[in-house]
Symmetry: C2
Subunit: 234 residues, 2 copies
């Protein structure tokens, strides 16, 4: 293999968005290195999905990093004493499912690996349209992270800059799904639900399920999600 092959670290949660990111990185000719995190998610089936997706896309390597972020507290997704909001509309305020500084931590690890690999890009599936009010999904956050990243590393000090790629940032969920289907993504492999069961079946009630289901509906495509109870909003 030539050293001129473009490499990208792709953050893969196991959900719909990151699966689409993997497909986009591949379609642009990147050799992909999948990076996932085990941070005490309620739903371990999300990580199982990440492993399936990494295999499906034939990535060059897949690392699952254990994070101690749960021990810092502060989120319904890692603090199992806090309830997940059920069948809510997307709120104006920042939801309790927010994990403190999550994307900052994720991107920092991606940056570390990108430096080791001499990768050109980091792909992250953030979205500013259906973003549920998470501050670290906004374009201005991503731009600030990229600027910081290009001051942080040995590679950047030697002139090899890294780009933080957010191909989904201005797409609706329906557009993301349409793009992914066109690129061959099998969304049955993905898990979006905040409280999926161990078989990867979805609750059909949480905000994430609701956004996903609406996405398929708006795209005019059949939702391949398997629910463990009838979706509340169908």
């Amino acid at each position: 293999m030539s050293s001129s092959i473009k490499k990208a670290v792709v953050l893969v949660s196991g959900g719909l968005d990151s699966a689409t990111c993997l497909a986009i990185a591949r379609s642009e000719g990147y050799q992909s290195f999948a990076l996932s995190f085990n941070y005490g998610q309620r739903s371990s089936s999300e990580l199982t999905a990440a492993v399936r997706l990494a295999e499906f896309f034939g990535v060059a390597a897949h690392q699952v990093i254990p994070l101690g972020i749960g021990q810092l507290g502060g989120s319904a997704l890692t603090d199992h004493t806090v309830d997940v909001p059920i069948n809510g509309v997307v709120a104006d305020h920042i939801p309790v499912t927010y994990v403190p500084a999550r994307n900052t931590v994720f991107l920092s690890y991606a940056l570390a690996w990108a430096e080791v690999l001499s990768a050109d890009a980091i792909f992250i599936g953030v979205n500013a349209v259906d973003y549920s009010g998470y501050p670290d999904c906004r374009p201005e956050f991503i731009e600030a992270f990229e600027k910081m990243a290009n001051l942080a590393t040995k590679a950047s000090a030697e002139g090899n800059l890294i780009r933080i790629r957010t191909p989904l940032i201005n797409m609706t969920k329906a557009q993301i799904i349409s793009e992914g289907v066109a690129l061959g993504v099998d969304y049955a492999l993905t898990v979006s639900c905040y409280q999926a069961n161990t078989a990867g079946q979805a609750c059909g009630a949480c905000d994430s399920c609701r956004l996903r289901h609406k996405g398929f509906k708006d795209a005019g495509l059949e939702d391949p999600t398997v629910y463990f109870s009838p979706p509340l909003y169908v």
Copy 2:
């Protein structure tokens, strides 16, 4: 306790610089929350020193976060097949003891905890004078991180900004030591050596030992470090 107490997350490695940072945060009236990382350092005595320092300063809490950064490779400090440079002068180039994106990862966790605690500041003992060529110790990196951090969090979206404090950034090692002694730091509790033994005794040969010893000498103070072999540079 009043909610108006100023809180700070202080990164504590167990070394001389972070001990001084803890003392400075205390002298400014901050309630300190010590944050350390276990990332496969060669020298576990550094973490033992961090625990001793947190007790010595009576911090409000001390968290030691296990990091998976070692599994990404790329550094002599975590990759035990790479030799630590011995008795070298501080090199013009970036040394092999550099850990990819280390301060970015450390500060990201500090940001997560700061958000949970509603802390006002993060203290990090980076130094641009005796900094050994690490890009993530430069003032422009810190400024870029602070800017990113204030776009990243729920707290920042609500107007509660966080400051990244680097009180040592323009100080020589001798100035750091003098300041710390004036604030009551017992440097015998600290470990700087890249390859200290389990008792916390230093090699007296690595770059970190050399910089530390020179600092005490330049400050006109006795070096309380215990060496397991005679220092090469005395």
